[in-house]
């Protein structure tokens, strides 16, 4: 037994042959990264299917397809699956694949824990999704799980245990990423020479460690309120329902930055590559990410402007929230400056990145408007908010993940994807996503609350337009699936080691596809080889 283990350990020739051994028992950062990415893509389609149910019911006034309670299950599950199942794991997958390659490390610092943090996820989601098939149905109180409503649900225990598991997975992933970045960089890869993507993940990982336990605490209190007669959030027993919201959003606001900071990192890698020009203001970019991360801890109550906070609190949280516009603005201006004076080409990753900058900024604008507490008394809990967070999460986070997939697919698979089909996917997605979400601004301003299964006839036209955009956007993602499958299994066009003309950084110095083991011997760092090595003085 011991002998076999030793033998396995020194087998550096390639991946294990057996399917079970290779994928289930994997300790290889590339294979685990692939698992994360496949898992999150699967969840993206499951969560997308829930969204299709929502948009189908909202296609026209009147209830045609589902009962209102099931509609609420769909909105709740759509959010939980997309946030915890699609966006977060795909960023962790990208971190797994790319961080060791980008800092010149042979693997993640804690490979066995890496395996565990992935393999918890499928079980967490089986637990969560199984509630849909149980008597009483799935959670229907919204992903925010506000009591007392969430405590009326019969599946709250399943949801809470699923959230606990996801939290454990995220915390382990974050510890692993921090340990890797701080301990395993190749000699010469100073902190301020690291790619912005690595920086963004280092900061994100600290956010994860800080707030996932807070979420775990909040949902555990829900659990004891429901089953063990505590009264944390029960007003009749001396508790306070608003307390839950404070705790939840103390987690929740950093959480939304957990879903966007790695996106900033990705965009900061792709735009310089296709502009053939170093990123503008590297240090400012890193500092902006750190400032945004810090501010994310002191703005949570802007999700609660309508709960009747004292005026002093409203003013504090309003000012703090508005401050976020400053570092975010710096990032957008720096991306534009990176493009200015460059020599640009527009391959699919660049197209998604440019769309990210424009559409994420639109989401930022509505975010600034929402920060103004008096105006938020109107916007709050309407489709204006729905439009806002879909602009930052779909055309923000999800677009950045797609950009990253196109950007690094050649490195992962050794093949080039079909540029034509990539561009078709891009244009189809970028047009449909605006047809889908832009009219929702109008709906919200006109007075349509969110999370309702049916609406007045005045809201009919924009809802129908939005639904058509929704079906179109959903269908467009099948193109993405096709492009990825084609690239990995059928593409005849081999990728060069440096797959993009302007690409810099260590990941492009290893062969394509990246061999099973890379950087067994730390690479010698030449500053001009790095994306950000010799750009600042």
């Amino acid at each position: 037994m011991a002998h076999a283990a030793t033998h396995d350990h020194h087998d550096h020739h390639g991946a294990p042959k057996g399917f079970f051994q290779r994928w289930v028992m994997s300790t290889n950062h590339k294979d685990i990264g692939t698992l994360y990415l496949i898992f999150s893509l699967t969840m993206f389609f499951i969560g997308g299917a829930f969204a299709m149910v929502i948009r189908a019911e909202l296609f026209k006034p009147g209830m045609q397809l589902v009962q209102p309670y099931f509609f609420n299950e769909m909105t709740t599950m759509h959010a939980l699956v997309m946030i915890f199942g699609a966006i977060m794991p795909s960023f962790v997958g990208l971190a797994n694949w790319m961080i060791p390659l980008m800092v010149g490390a042979p693997d993640m610092a804690l490979p066995r824990m890496n395996n565990l943090s992935f393999w918890i996820m499928p079980f967490a989601f089986i637990l969560l999704l199984s509630t849909l098939f149980m008597p009483g149905g799935g959670p229907a109180g919204g992903w925010t799980m506000y009591p007392p409503l969430s405590l009326q649900g019969e599946s709250i225990a399943y949801t809470i245990f699923a959230v606990h598991l996801m939290g454990i997975s995220s915390i382990m992933g974050a510890i692993n990423i921090i340990a890797t970045i701080l301990n395993m960089r190749a000699p010469g890869m100073d902190l301020l020479k690291m790619p912005v993507f690595v920086w963004s993940w280092l900061i994100t990982a600290f956010l994860l460690i800080a707030v996932m336990p807070v979420l775990a605490g909040a949902v555990t209190m829900l659990l004891t309120d429901k089953y063990f007669h505590t009264n944390f959030f029960n007003a009749a027993g001396g508790g306070d329902p608003v307390l839950f919201q404070h705790i939840f959003w103390f987690f929740g606001h950093p959480e939304v930055y957990i879903m966007i900071l790695p996106a900033f990192g990705i965009i900061s890698e792709i735009i310089p590559t296709f502009s053939r020009k170093p990123i503008f203001g590297y240090r400012a970019m890193v500092f902006a990410i750190a400032s945004i991360a810090f501010l994310s801890f002191i703005v949570w109550a802007h999700h609660m402007f309508a709960v009747g906070l004292p005026m002093g609190a409203e003013i504090f949280f309003m000012y703090a929230t508005m401050l976020i516009a400053v570092p975010t603005g710096v990032k957008v201006f720096n991306w534009v400056s990176t493009m200015w004076g460059g020599s640009m080409t527009f391959e699919t990753p660049m197209l998604f990145s440019i769309a990210f900058v424009i559409l994420f900024t639109i989401g930022g604008f509505s975010g600034l408007m929402l920060a103004l507490a008096p105006a938020d008394f109107q916007y709050h809990d309407t489709y204006f908010v729905v439009a806002h967070f879909h602009y930052v999460l779909v055309t923000g986070a999800a677009f950045s993940i797609m950009a990253a997939a196109y950007y690094w697919l050649p490195k992962w698979s050794g093949n080039m994807y079909s540029e034509t089909w990539g561009k078709i996917h891009f244009w189809s997605s970028v047009i449909s996503v605006n047809v889908l979400f832009f009219p929702q601004h109008f709906l919200g301003l006109a007075g349509m609350p969110r999370r309702i299964p049916d609406y007045n006839v005045a809201f009919a036209n924009f809802n129908m337009i939005s639904s058509i955009g929704g079906f179109w956007f959903g269908a467009s993602q099948l193109i993405f699936l096709g492009v990825v499958i084609h690239c990995v299994f059928f593409s005849k066009k081999k990728a060069a080691d440096r797959s993009w003309e302007g690409a810099k950084g260590l990941e492009w110095t290893v062969p394509s596809p990246a061999p099973f083991h890379t950087f067994d011997v730390p690479p010698v760092i030449h500053d001009d080889e790095l994306a950000h090595g010799n750009t600042e003085h």
Binding site: L65, Y282, A306, V307, V330, I358, Q378, F442, D454
Partner: protein, 299 residues
């Protein structure tokens, strides 16, 4: 086209744009409405909203404009050669300071709005609003410094909408109209009647789960939370019927608990209130009359 013709067409277009973007004082949702209502009350975040919107539009034009110029000028296919610079402290200071100045201006406006919203003093009337799954209860607490005697009622979705909204009812939501205005899911059996030109204080609570009381024409929403009494105020300037909905997810019929406020001139309101008080007295008397004989044999 003559210059006058151009001028006329521009002003016609501007009038149309104005109508679309806030010229018309919509009180209730209108088909294809694009913008927030100006509202019918003294306090309204409409102006603040429009300032913020235009600030965003202008910044957007500048930033996206620069991006599109860059994408056009600096493309490899036009022979652009990448420059080497990647830093400019001067520029970075500029685009940190300018946003800060804009934000201070917006914060100043918003703070004023918050301060006036938070001031519920000097109200002439108090209404208690209670949210239940899935209906509202209104209690008239006091009017002009005097307690109101037992006027309160439940207000819930009216019957035609309720029948139409059932799954596969095959009833047409388009047909539900009051005075030519479609009221599907926006009408109740008994509206909240309020006087105009009166500062009204609302005390808002939740009876079971959290709800949120929202009438867009009044300019705000406020959560109705079990165990907490929230306060807000309004002063309605125009008589009319103003419609709204519950804005906080509160269970399966969250979408089916509308709010209707009927604002009437003070004299008319006083008359209405007096009738309600009389009815309440009659009802109470009838109840006591019933309970007394019932108890008598026991005694």
């Amino acid at each position: 086209m003559t210059s006058g013709g151009i001028g006329r067409s521009i002003s016609a277009w501007a009038a149309g744009a104005l109508a679309l973007f806030g010229g018309a004082a919509w009180a209730n949702p209108e088909p294809n409405q694009l913008n927030m209502t100006k509202g019918a009350a003294e306090w309204s975040p409409y102006a603040m909203h429009m300032v913020a919107l235009w600030v965003c539009v202008v910044i957007g034009i500048v930033v996206f404009g620069a991006m599109f110029i860059a994408m056009f000028r600096f493309r490899k296919s036009r022979g652009a050669v990448a420059e080497k610079w990647s830093h400019s402290t001067k520029l970075e200071v500029v685009w940190t300071v300018i946003p800060v100045i804009i934000l201070i201006f917006l914060a100043h406006l918003a703070t004023g709005g918050l301060t006036s919203f938070a001031d519920t003093t000097n109200s002439e009337m108090t209404i208690k609003v209670t949210g239940y799954q899935w209906k509202w209860r209104y209690d008239y607490v006091d009017y002009k410094g005097k307690g109101v005697d037992q006027v309160g009622f439940i207000s819930k979705l009216e019957e035609t909408s309720d029948r139409t909204r059932q799954l596969k009812s095959n009833l047409d939501p388009d047909k539900i109209k009051v005075d030519g205005y479609n009221t599907y899911l926006l009408d109740v059996d008994k509206p909240l009647v309020l006087p105009t030109n009166t500062k009204i204080r609302f005390v808002i609570v939740g009876g079971d789960v959290i709800h949120s009381w929202w009438v867009p024409a009044l300019g705000w929403k406020m959560d109705a939370i079990p165990g907490i009494a929230n306060a807000a105020w309004t002063n309605i300037k125009e008589p009319g019927v103003y419609r709204g909905q519950c804005a906080e997810l509160c269970g399966q019929d969250h979408g089916f608990m509308p709010i209707v406020v009927k604002a009437v001139p003070r004299a008319e309101f006083e008359q209405w209130l007096a009738t309600q008080e009389d009815e309440a007295k009659v009802q109470k008397a009838a109840q006591t009359a019933q309970t007394v004989p019932a108890q008598a044999p026991q005694g």
